[in-house]
Amino acid sequence: MPDEDQPPVAAVFFAFRIMVGIGLLTVLLGLASLVLRWRRRLFESRSLLRATVAMGPLGFVAIVAGWVTTEVGRQPYTVYGWLLTGNSASPVDAPAVAASLTAFVIVYCVVFGFGIWYLLRMMRSGPAATESGSIDKPRNLHSSFLKQPAGKAES
């Protein structure tokens, strides 16, 4: 393959390995949990619980790495072998693209910033002690609010 038809190899190389590596770690965590469940120690093993918490954000990392793999990996094409990225761009002026990108970054920062804050706050407060249902039935965030009157969900 001629050089100009190749994607930036380093980005694809590492992104792919990060994605697959995290995938394998996830499988490993699943197997470890299974073994501990067998030995009836799943909810007691501190190290496994810590590892599970640590693995939490890695899912997002794997998704982004996978996305980098496909998007960078198919360069310089949009449709592999048929349509070059340069030829597939819309006739939109550069300032328009810059303005929309800036707007998206700002809106995403606000929305995700608040979202992550709420998520962490919910995790800190933990499952409600009054929640009915067994341990097999995880707490449904919406259903707990269904029973309360509108506008009083926060109390």
């Binding site: 929309s100 609010f145 509108a150 506008g151 926060e154």
Partner: protein
């Protein structure tokens, strides 16, 4: 005459109309949100649409995705022309969408998210009106590409369409509240619906008189003799439904104004179709010219014919489950 592109144009027109009517009323609630008064009213209004609003927006995806798949040329020509209002609409919809969840999670910032809900709804509606106005008045096309700039959408007609659609969605939102709400919220909704109704009817008149001046072809459709007979039912029915809406709002029949408003939107949509057919990019590209190859259209039609009835069925089911007045004391959240 019924070829595959025409079938797909009908499917897309249907998706867009359903989107406009369904998301119209929940955007409308965002538009009048600051005028609803106390927190109980706001909570009730939000809860009246909370179970259905995100389902309503799936029709926008069908409209946009369908345009991309079935009429790629129209998509490629229209989207660059509509870049700014489209991006504004998407960002506004993100903001207003998360407000549904966040306002309950975070009472300390509730006024911030309420403002986000209101301004997001307003901006999304204005953008949609501007998009419609820009498409109707025509864009600069050479060959198979848009050749205008990214501010071409600014014109008196498109801005007027943005304001007109705000009034129209406001009407859908307030008549929905008339249908669903009780007590003080219902009283306020009646007052707001009367204002929105008069404003909407004035704008329907203005757009109807303005459109023929945009192009002689549109004028010919409406004002020459043989066609006149076929298009006359549209203004006649509009007058009938306007009367019905007025009666429902004055005689306080809760179930009348909302269906009458939907009917008015349907007729406006039919009027647009009469003015624009067979163009998908007015004055430049016809439905047939913009269509994907028949093989693609046939392939997608199979999926559409299976999925559309399913979507319609579960949509109808969810509205049926949440039918009747909203109980102010029991929230969706």
């Amino acid at each position: 005459m019924i070829d595959l592109p025409t079938v797909w144009a009908c499917i897309l027109a249907f998706a867009v109309l359903v989107y406009v009517v369904l998301d119209g009323f929940d955007l409308g609630i965002g538009i009048v949100f600051p005028l609803l008064g106390k927190e109980e009213n706001r909570a009730s209004a939000m809860n009246s649409v909370a179970p259905v609003w995100d389902g309503n927006e799936t029709w926008l995806i069908l409209g946009g995705g369908g345009l991309f798949a079935a009429f790629p040329l129209a998509y490629a020509v229209l989207m660059p022309a509509l870049y700014a209002p489209m991006i504004a609409m998407i960002l506004a919809l993100i903001f207003r969408g998360v407000a549904f969840e966040y306002r309950w999670r975070d009472p300390a910032h509730r006024s911030f998210w309420d403002r986000g809900f209101h301004l997001g709804s307003l901006a999304a509606t204005c953008s949609q009106g501007i998009v419609l106005g820009t498409i109707v008045q025509g864009i600069d096309v050479e060959g198979r590409a848009y050749v205008g700039g990214w501010w071409d959408w600014v014109s008196p007609f498109s801005v007027m369409c943005g304001i007109a659609l705000t009034a129209g969605y406001g009407l859908l939102g307030t008549t929905w509240l008339v249908l669903k709400a009780t007590g003080d919220l219902r009283e306020r909704a009646y007052v707001l619906a009367r204002v929105a109704g008069i404003t909407t009817l004035v704008f329907i008149g203005v757009v109807s008189l303005w459109m023929p001046f945009l192009s002689p072809e549109i004028a010919a459709r409406w004002f020459t003799f043989p066609q006149l007979v076929f298009v006359l039912p549209v203004p006649t029915l509009t007058a009938v439904l306007a009367g019905l809406l007025g009666w429902g709002l004055i005689a306080r029949r809760d179930a009348v104004p909302f269906p009458a408003s939907i009917g008015l939107f349907g007729l406006c949509f039919a009027g647009l179709g009469i003015g624009l057919y067979p163009f998908i990019v007015p004055g430049a590209i016809s439905i047939q010219e913009a269509a994907a190859p028949d093989g693609s259209l046939r392939f997608m039609l199979v999926g559409a014919l299976i999925l559309l009835p399913m979507i319609l069925a579960y949509t109808a089911y969810s509205y049926w489950i949440f039918r009747g007045k909203v109980d102010p004391d029991s929230g969706y959240h």
